[in-house]
C-alpha cells in the first residue's frame, strides 16, 4: 500500500513520452526530466564581514530541482537560456544547434532553429517571445518570431567604424526595450557591439569598453624599453566582457574574467559603471539581475555570488562537484537566470542540466529588507532586518543596513553599535559625530565653567605660591627626581628635539645620553606604538578588531631598527664617518622624540574626532613623522660630521645596503630551506627504506 501510494504520487508527475510509453508502462520509468529532493545543501553559504573576509552564514539557497531533460528531449552541451516572466524557458541547445522551449517544470513546448543555427552561443528572448540567437560560426544574429520562424538576420556591420579587419563572432546578446542589440563578440576587444534594428541593422558603436590594466610598474617598465622591446611585450589590450544581462530599465550588467573592478559592472545607458563590487570571482561565467535591486554572478566553477545594488557581497555559495556528485554542485556553469519567485536557475553545460535553487526563509527576509532599504524606506526595512539579525546577528550587510536605518531614525547609539559591528566606518563616523555633538551641547556650559574654574585655581595657586611658597616642596622633589642620571638623560630628548645640532654634539662629545636611556626610550616608543596600533579610535585603526599580533609588531620594529642602525653604521665607517655605533644608535632613537611626544595627543584625538576632522589626526601624524625625519637627517650629518652632499649619499647608501641585506637574507633563507628539505627527504626515505 505504501509503495502503491508512493508510486501513484510519482506517476502523477511523470509524463511518458512517445511510443515507448505503452511498452514500458509496467516498469518504473526514471523521473529523469526533473528530480526534486527535500534535502540539505551539500555546500556552505558564506558572506563577507566588514573587513572583506569570509564568514559562514545560514544556507542562502537550497537545491530545489534538477532539470536534466525537456520532455523526452535530452540536451547536449547547452550554453545559454532565457527565462520569461510568463514561465516559459528558452534553452539554447548548442550541441544540437536548436532552441528548446519548455515550461519551468521541464515540459516540452516546442523546438526551433534546426537547420538555421550553426554554433549558437547566446540567446535572448523578449517578453513577447521574440528570440535573438547569437551564432558564432554563422557570424550572425538570428531573430525568430514567437512561432519560431526566422524573421531577420543581422551580419557583420559594414561600416569603417566597426574596424576594417574586425571579424563578427557573436557569443552573447541582450536586447533592450527599443530593440537595440548589445552583442559580445569573440576576439573583439573594442567592447560590446551595439546594433540598432533600424535599416536592417545599424552599427551604433562600442559600448562598455573595459579599461586596460596598466600598473604603475608597467608604465615605468614600458617607458624604459626600446620600441623593439616594447613590440615584443604582450600587448596590453583590454579584456572583452564575457557575458551580460539587462534589466527592465535597460541597465546592462557585464562580467569580465580577470581581477579587480572590471569583473562586475553595472552600466547605465551612457556606458558609465555604477557598481563597485567588494569581492569578485576571477572566472565569472554569467550575470543575472534579481528582483530586489540585487544581482547574481555565477563563476565557471559553480560559485554563485549575490550582490546588492552597491556591489556589497551578500552571499556566495555552491561550488564545483569534486566527483562526489552531490545536488547543487556544478561542473561547468554557463548561464544564470532568476525566476519571478526568486528561484535561481543555473545552466551547466557539462552536465547538460539546469539546476534550480530556491531561497530559504532567511534569504527571503533579507530580500525584503534589501528592497525596502534600497527604496529608502528605512523604518519599514527595520522589521525584516531585525528578523535577519535575529537569525544571524553577525550578518554584515544587515548590521550595516540596520546601522543606517537607525541613523536615519536618529537613534545614534544604536547606529554606532551596528556600524561598528559592520565595520561601516562612514556611518560610524556620522553617528559618532551626532553623539559627540549631543554630548557637547549637553556639557558645554559645564565644560566652560570647569575651564574657568581651573584657570582661577591655577591663578590662585600661583598667587599662593608667590606669597607662601606652597609649591616649593613638590618643586624640589621634582627637581631631585629630574636630576637622577637616567632621568636627566631621558629628559635630554626634549632638548634634542628642539636643538638637534647641539643635541648631536651633546650625544657625541658630552655624553649627555647613554645606551640605557636610549633603550628606555625605545621601550617606551614600542609600547606607545603597540597601544596606538590596537587601541586608537575605531575610525583610525589600521588593524582588524579582535586581532592581536604583538610579538611580530615588536619584532618588526626591532628588526627595522637593527637594519637601519647597522647598515648606517657600516656605511659610515667606510665613508669616513666619525660616529661610533653607540652614538648612531642613541641619536637615531632620540630622533624619535617627536613620536613620543606627539603620539599620545594623536592617540587621544583619534578617540574624539570623526572623519570630518580627520585632518587633525592626519596632520598631527604627518607633522610628527616629518619632524622625526628631519632629526634623523640632521643627526646623520652631525654625528658623522658630513657635508650635506655626503649626508644624502650616506642615506642613499644606507637604503641600498638595507636592500642588499634583505635580499641576501632572503636568498640564504631559500637556499637553507632547500638544503633542509633535501636532508629531510633523504633522512625520511632512508628511515622508510630501513623500516620496511
Amino acid at each position: 500500500m505504501k509503495m502503491a501510494a508512493l508510486k501513484q504520487g510519482r506517476w502523477k508527475k511523470r509524463i511518458l513520452g512517445g511510443a515507448l510509453a505503452l511498452s514500458v508502462a509496467a516498469c518504473v520509468l526514471g523521473d529523469s526530466a526533473s528530480l526534486t529532493t527535500k534535502a540539505d545543501a551539500p555546500y556552505k553559504s558564506y558572506t563577507v564581514d566588514g573587513y572583506g573576509s569570509v564568514t559562514e552564514t545560514q544556507t542562502a539557497y537550497l537545491p530545489y530541482k534538477t532539470l536534466t531533460k525537456v520532455g523526452d528531449e535530452a540536451l547536449l552541451s547547452p550554453t545559454d537560456f532565457c527565462l520569461l516572466k510568463d514561465g516559459s524557458m528558452y534553452i539554447l541547445d548548442s550541441g544540437n544547434a536548436r532552441v528548446v522551449v519548455s515550461d519551468l517544470e521541464g515540459n516540452l513546448i516546442s523546438t526551433f532553429g534546426e537547420g538555421t543555427l550553426v554554433t549558437p552561443r547566446g540567446i535572448f528572448v523578449t517578453e513577447d517571445h521574440i528570440t535573438y540567437v547569437a551564432d558564432r560560426d554563422a557570424k550572425s544574429i538570428f531573430v525568430f518570431d514567437a512561432q519560431g520562424n526566422l524573421t531577420q538576420t543581422y551580419g557583420r556591420p559594414d561600416v569603417p567604424m566597426y574596424g576594417e579587419t574586425q571579424d563578427f563572432l557573436p557569443l552573447k546578446i541582450v536586447v533592450n526595450s527599443s530593440g537595440t542589440m548589445y552583442i559580445v563578440c569573440e576576439s573583439n576587444t573594442n567592447g560590446i557591439v551595439e546594433i540598432s534594428p533600424v535599416d536592417g541593422g545599424t552599427f551604433l558603436g562600442y559600448f562598455g569598453t573595459n579599461a586596460t590594466n596598466a600598473s604603475i610598474w608597467t608604465i615605468i617598465w614600458r617607458a624604459l624599453l626600446t620600441d623593439a622591446q616594447r613590440a615584443k611585450m604582450r600587448s596590453n589590450i583590454p579584456s572583452t566582457p564575457d557575458n551580460m544581462a539587462i534589466d527592465d530599465k535597460g541597465i546592462i550588467y557585464t562580467v569580465t574574467r580577470g581581477e579587480g573592478k572590471d569583473v562586475l559592472k553595472r552600466l547605465n545607458i551612457a556606458g558609465v559603471n555604477m557598481i563597485e563590487p567588494d569581492t569578485t570571482d576571477t572566472t565569472p561565467a554569467a550575470v543575472a539581475v534579481g528582483n530586489h535591486d540585487n544581482c547574481f554572478v555565477v563563476s565557471q566553477q559553480g560559485f554563485i555570488y549575490e550582490y546588492n545594488n552597491e556591489g556589497d557581497l551578500l552571499f556566495v555559495f555552491g561550488g564545483k562537484d569534486d566527483g562526489q556528485s552531490r545536488i547543487g554542485l556544478a561542473s561547468k556553469a554557463e548561464a544564470i537566470r532568476v525566476g519571478t519567485d526568486d528561484k535561481l536557475y543555473i545552466l551547466d553545460s557539462d552536465k547538460s542540466q539546469i539546476q534550480i535553487y530556491e531561497p530559504t526563509e532567511f534569504t527571503n527576509y533579507l530580500h525584503d529588507a534589501l528592497y525596502l532599504f534600497s527604496k529608502g524606506r528605512y523604518t519599514e526595512s527595520k522589521t525584516p532586518l531585525a528578523k535577519v539579525l535575529e537569525m544571524n546577528n553577525l550578518f554584515d550587510y544587515a548590521n550595516m543596513a540596520m546601522g543606517k536605518a537607525l541613523y536615519k531614525e536618529e537613534d545614534y547609539e544604536g547606529a554606532l553599535k551596528y556600524a561598528r559591528l559592520a565595520k561601516d566606518l562612514d556611518s560610524y563616523s556620522d553617528a559618532f559625530w551626532e553623539i559627540r555633538n549631543e554630548w557637547l551641547k549637553k556639557h558645554l556650559t559645564a565644560m566652560v565653567l570647569l575651564l574657568i574654574g581651573l584657570l582661577i585655581l591655577k591663578r590662585v595657586i600661583k598667587v599662593l605660591d608667590r606669597k607662601k611658597h606652597i609649591l616649593d616642596g613638590p618643586r624640589a622633589a621634582l627637581h631631585r627626581f629630574g636630576e637622577i642620571k637616567l632621568i636627566r638623560e631621558i629628559r635630554y630628548m626634549f632638548y634634542f628635539m628642539r636643538h638637534p645640532i647641539d643635541g648631536c654634539y651633546g650625544i657625541k662629545r658630552e655624553g649627555r645620553v647613554s645606551v640605557a636611556s636610549a633603550n628606555v626610550l625605545l621601550a617606551v616608543g614600542i609600547v606607545f606604538y603597540v597601544i596606538n596600533r590596537y587601541f586608537c579610535g575605531f575610525l583610525f585603526k589600521t588593524v582588524r578588531e579582535g586581532r592581536f599580533d604583538v610579538a611580530s609588531d615588536v619584532g618588526l620594529v626591532l628588526i627595522a631598527l637593527l637594519l637601519v642602525v647597522g647598515c648606517n653604521y657600516l656605511m659610515c665607517t667606510i665613508n669616513d664617518g666619525e660616529g661610533k655605533l653607540k652614538d648612531i644608535y642613541c641619536s637615531f632613537v632620540y630622533s624619535f622624540g617627536p613620536y613620543l611626544v606627539i603620539l599620545p595627543f594623536v592617540f587621544l584625538l583619534s578617540h574624539i574626532v570623526t572623519y570630518n576632522e580627520e585632518f587633525f589626526v592626519s596632520f598631527g601624524t604627518l607633522f610628527m613623522f616629518v619632524w622625526v625625519a628631519v632629526l634623523i637627517v640632521i643627526s646623520v650629518r652631525e654625528i658623522n660630521n658630513y657635508t650635506v652632499g655626503e649626508t644624502v649619499k650616506i642615506i642613499l647608501l644606507t637604503l641600498f645596503t638595507i636592500l642588499i641585506v634583505c635580499l641576501l637574507a632572503f636568498i640564504l633563507y631559500v637556499l637553507w630551506a632547500q638544503v633542509l628539505d633535501f636532508l629531510q627527504s633523504f633522512v625520511r626515505e632512508v628511515v622508510y627504506r630501513i623500516g620496511s
Binding site: 505504501k2 501510494a5 508512493l6 513520452g17 511510443a19 515507448l20 511498452s23 514500458v24 509496467a26 516498469c27 518504473v28 520509468l29 526514471g30 523521473d31 529523469s32 529532493t37 527535500k38 534535502a39 540539505d40 545543501a41 555546500y43 558564506y46 569570509v54 564568514t55 559562514e56 545560514q58 537550497l62 537545491p63 534538477t66 536534466t68 570571482d281 560559485f303 556566495v316 561550488g319 569534486d322 566527483g323 562526489q324 556528485s325 552531490r326 545536488i327 547543487g328 530559504t360 526563509e361 532567511f362 534569504t363 535575529e390 537569525m391 544571524n392 546577528n393 553577525l394 550578518f395 590596537y534 579582535g546 586581532r547 592581536f548 627527504s681 625520511r684 626515505e685 622508510y688 620496511s692
Partner: protein, 732 residues
C-alpha cells in the same frame, strides 16, 4: 510480470516490436507469484540446500552464489545475475556471480580482481543443515580463507573468520573483500523497488532506469572516513582558500538493503563484524554495468602516499600497508516479505536485531526540550587570549526560572564551554569550571539543585581534541599512517589547529576527569568527539587500526556509561546502548544526486526506543521545513542559547554561532516545547509502523494507532480525507 527492456538500445518507434521479441526471448525462469508449496529442484542454476520457516536457500556450488526464495509467494532474491545483457566482460561477470570478490594489491596496483569464476580456486565445500562452509584457496595468488554461510530464522549470515585468512604470497595481498555483492541485484528496470542508502538519516535509490547518468554509486565508509589516510581529492576552493563543500554525513549504522516492491520481497544487510573498516556501496544501474546492487566492502589493506619531503610536490612514495587489519568479517542478510518488504520493514528488522543483540536498550522516553548553553570561549588579546563570558551559572538559574514561568518544565541541557579556559581549552583533565562563570562550587551547586527536578543537565566534554595553543601537545597525539601528525584545521582566528588525542590517552583523561567529577557527587556527562570518529593511526612507531581505535573507545564509553549518566553526540551504532538519548540526529542526507528520496530510516529504527534530538534549530535557514522534518522523524528540538548576544563571539573560535541570544529564542522554545510535548505524549513508547511518501505529503503511522500527516508544500492538500494546511501537519 517483469519485462526485460534494454531501453538504451531501443529506438522509440521500434519499442513495441523489440519489447515483444525480448519478452519472448529473455524471460526469467519464474519470479512470478506462483505459490510454491514444495521446493523447486533448482532456481536459475541453483539447487536446493536448506530452509527456515519462511524461506528456502538454493546454492550454486560453482560460484557459491545463492538464491533465497519466499516460501509463501515463490518470489526470490538472487546473489548472482541470472540474465546477462551481453555487455559485461569476464571480470565483471566474475564479480557478478561469485559469492566472494576480492581486490588484490600487487605492487602499486590495487585493482586486480580475484573471484570464484575466473580464477583457479581450490575449494572444499562442506554442506550442513544450516548452510555450508567453503575453504577457498586461490592458487595463483597463494591466498585464501574459509567462507562460512549459515541460514537460520534470522536470515543468512556470511562470514570469514580472521584466523582462516591466509596470505602466502610475497607478491599478492588482499586489499578488499566483498561478500555476496550482488545479493538482490536486478537488471535495469526489471524489478520495481529501491535500494536503501545509509546516508544521513537514510535515503532511497529507486530501481528505475538511470540512463547512465551516474558514473559511480554511493560509497560511504562505515562510521566515517578515515582521517588516518590522507585523502587526495581535487578540491576547488573559493578564492583558493575556503572549502565551500560540506562534509558528507557519517554512515552511523552499517546497513544497506534492497526491496523489490513488485515481488514483495526485500533484504536488509547488516555488517555484523568488521564494520569498523568497511564501506557500504550502493550502485544503481548505469554505473559501469546495468545492474542495481548494494553491498559491503571490507578493507584489509590500502595504498597510501608516503611523502618524503615537506613540499608535497617534491617527493613521495606510493606504498601499501605492511600489515593488514585483523578482524572477523561478516554480513547478515535479513529477509523480509509481504508488508514488511519495504524500508519501514527494514528499519523494524534492524531495530529487532539491535534489541535482540543488546546493542540497543529501550530508554526512558520522557519528552524534554533540549536547551544547551555556551559558557565561555576566548578571543585574542594583547598578549595571549581573554575570556568571553556568554552564560554564567547564575544566568542559567535565571533562564531556567524564565522557562519555568513559560511552562517549560522538562528540559535537557548540555553546558558547553563550562571548563576552565573556555570551550576550546581541551582536553578537559579535571573537574574545574571557569571562574568567570561562577567557579566549580557554583556549578556543582547548580547541578545538585537540578537533581530530581525535570531538568537534566550535562557537562559537555570533547574527548578527542587537544589544543596545542593552550596545552603541551607534543605527546599523546596521533599521527597518520604516513607518520605525519594529524592536524585538524579550524580556519578560525584564535585557535587555528587542533590535534587528535590517541584513543588510549582520551580514555585515560576521561577516567581521570570522571573520577574528579563523580567525587563531587555529580555524574551527568555529555561526551563528544570520540563518539563518531574512528581512525587508523600511528603512535610512537606502532600502527593501530580502526579496530584498535574502536576497541579503546568502546571500552572507555562502556566504562563511562556505568559510572555516569551518559549522553553521546551523534553516536555511531556500537555506542547506541550506552547513551540515554541520541544527540544531533541528522534529519537530512548528504544530497547525493543519485539519491531519489530522503527517508527517516534511522529515526524509524530508534523512535520509541531511544529519544532523539535534532541539530540546533538556531542555524536552520528554513525553520518551518526543519520543524516539519523533526515531527516527521520523531526527533525532538534542540536550541543553543547564550545569555549574551552572540555578536560577542565574533572574535572567538565560536564565531560560527551567529545566533544564540536567549531573549531571541525564549518564545520559540516555549512554543516548540508545547507542540512537541503534546505530540510525544501521543506517540510515547510507540514505534513507527508505516511511512508513506506522496509528493510533498508524508504519512507517518505509529504502532499505537496515531497517524501524523505532514504537508511540505506551501499550498493546502489532503490525504486519506484529512485536510492539511500548507507547511503544516495534522495528528489523527
Amino acid at each position: 510480470m517483469a519485462h526485460r527492456i534494454a531501453k538504451r538500445i531501443l529506438g522509440i518507434t521500434l519499442a513495441p516490436v523489440l519489447a515483444l521479441c525480448l519478452l519472448a526471448g529473455a524471460l526469467p525462469t519464474g519470479s512470478g507469484a506462483v505459490l510454491t508449496a514444495r521446493a523447486a529442484e533448482e532456481i536459475a542454476g541453483h539447487s536446493y540446500l536448506t530452509e527456515n520457516s519462511a524461506y528456502r536457500l538454493y546454492l550454486n556450488e560453482e560460484d557459491l552464489s545463492v538464491v533465497v526464495e519466499d516460501k509463501a509467494t515463490g518470489a526470490y532474491l538472487e546473489s548472482s545475475i541470472s540474465y546477462d545483457d551481453g555487455q559485461n566482460n569476464n571480470i565483471w561477470l566474475g564479480a557478478m556471480r561469485s559469492a566472494v570478490v576480492l581486490t588484490l594489491i600487487n605492487k602499486n596496483d590495487d585493482t586486480l580482481q580475484a573471484d570464484l569464476v575466473n580464477d583457479d580456486v581450490t575449494r572444499k565445500v562442506t554442506k550442513s543443515d544450516t548452510g555450508f562452509t567453503a575453504e577457498l584457496y586461490w592458487n595463483k595468488y597463494k591466498l585464501g580463507f574459509t567462507l562460512e554461510v549459515s541460514f537460520d530464522e534470522d536470515g543468512l549470515s556470511a562470514r570469514i573468520a580472521e584466523d582462516s585468512i591466509r596470505e602466502d604470497s610475497e607478491q599478492y595481498f588482499i586489499g578488499t573483500i566483498r561478500l555476496y555483492p550482488y545479493m538482490g541485484c536486478s537488471y535495469l528496470t526489471d524489478k520495481e523497488g529501491y535500494m536503501l542508502v545509509p546516508d544521513g538519516n537514510g535515503a532511497l535509490i529507486y530501481l528505475d532506469d538511470k540512463e547512465g547518468r551516474y558514473p559511480s554509486g554511493f560509497s560511504g565508509t562505515i562510521f566515517g572516513t578515515d582521517i588516518g589516510f590522507e585523502e587526495s581529492k581535487v578540491e576547488t576552493l573559493l578564492w583558493d582558500k575556503y572549502n565551500t563543500i560540506s562534509d558528507a554525513e557519517i554512515v552511523l549504522a552499517p546497513v544497506f538493503g534492497i526491496a523489490h516492491t513488485d515481488d514483495r520481497i526485500a533484504f536488509l544487510g547488516i555488517v555484523e563484524e568488521g564494520a569498523e573498516r568497511a564501506s557500504i556501496e550502493v550502485v544503481p544501474n548505469g554505473a559501469s554495468v546495468d545492474y542495481n546492487r548494494a553491498y559491503a566492502r571490507f578493507v584489509l589493506r590500502r595504498l597510501y602516499t608516503q611523502p618524503t619531503s615537506n613540499n608535497s610536490t617534491a617527493g613521495s612514495l606510493h606504498i601499501y600497508e605492511a600489515d593488514r587489519s585483523h578482524s572477523d568479517l561478516g554480513v547478515r542478510f535479513v529477509f523480509l516479505s509481504g508488508d514488511d518488504a519495504d524500508y519501514v520493514g527494514m528499519a523494524g528488522a534492524y531495530r529487532n536485531y539491535l534489541l535482540q543483540s543488546g546493542s540497543l536498550v529501550r530508554k526512558e522516553d520522557t519528552y524534554r526540550t533540549r536547551v544547551d548553553f555556551l559558557g565561555s570561549d576566548r578571543q585574542s588579546w594583547v598578549l595571549g587570549t581573554q575570556g568571553v563570558v556568554m552564560t554564567t551559572v547564575d544566568d542559567i538559574y535565571e533562564i531556567f526560572a524564565d522557562l519555568e514561568a513559560r511552562g517549560v518544565t522538562q528540559t535537557i541541557s548540555l553546558y558547553k564551554g563550562w571548563q576552565d579556559g573556555g570551550l576550546y581549552n581541551l582536553p578537559i583533565t579535571k573537574y574545574k569550571a571557569e571562574s568567570k562563570l561562577g567557579g566549580t562550587g557554583d556549578l556543582t551547586k547548580l547541578m545538585k539543585s537540578l537533581e530530581g527536578t525535570g531538568r537534566e543537565f550535562y557537562l559537555y566534554n570533547n574527548a578527542l581534541l587537544i589544543n596545542p595553543d593552550e596545552t603541551n601537545a607534543t605527546f599523546n597525539v596521533i599521527k597518520q599512517v604516513n607518520k605525519r601528525r594529524y592536524e585538524y584545521k579550524t580556519y578560525r582566528d584564535v585557535y587555528e589547529t587542533f590535534y587528535f588525542l590517541t584513543p588510549s590517552r582520551s580514555k585515560l583523561l576521561l577516567e581521570r576527569f570522571v573520577k574528579s567529577y563523580t567525587s563531587k557527587g555529580v555524574s551527568n556527562l555529555a561526551l563528544a568527539g570520540i563518539t563518531n570518529k574512528l581512525f587508523t593511526y600511528t603512535y610512537s612507531s606502532d600502527k593501530y587500526t580502526r579496530y584498535d581505535c574502536a576497541k579503546l573507545y568502546n571500552e572507555a564509553i562502556e566504562e563511562l556509561s556505568t559510572q555516569t549518566n551518559l549522553v553521546l553526540e551523534q553516536p555511531i551504532s556500537p555506542y547506541w546502548d550506552d547513551t540515554n538519548v541520541f544527540l544531533d540526529m541528522p534529519l537530512y542526507t548528504s544530497s547525493y544526486i543519485l539519491e531519489d528520496e530522503s527517508i527517516p530510516f534511522l529515526s524509524i529504527v530508534l523512535k520509541g526506543v531511544l529519544p532523539m534530538y535534532a541539530e540546533y534549530v538556531n542555524f536552520e535557514a528554513n525553520e518551518k521545513e526543519f520543524f516539519l522534518k523533526m515531527i516527521e522523524s520523531g526527533a525532538y528540538p534542540s536550541f543553543y542559547v547564550t545569555k549574551e548576544d552572540s555578536s560577542e563571539l565574533i572574535y572567538t573560535n565560536s564565531n560560527d554561532i551567529y545566533s544564540s541570544r536567549y531573549d531571541s529564542y525564549k518564545e520559540r522554545i516555549a512554543e516548540y516545547d508545547a507542540i512537541f510535548r503534546e505530540l510525544s505524549e501521543r506517540t510515547k513508547g510507540a514505534v513507527i509502523t508505516e511511512h508513506v511518501i506522496d509528493g510533498d505529503l508524508r504519512k507517518v503511522s505509529y504502532s499505537n494507532g496515531v497517524t501524523i500527516y505532514l504537508n511540505y508544500s506551501a499550498s493546502p492538500a489532503s490525504c486519506d480525507g484529512v485536510d492539511i494546511e500548507g507547511m503544516s501537519y495534522v495528528v489523527k
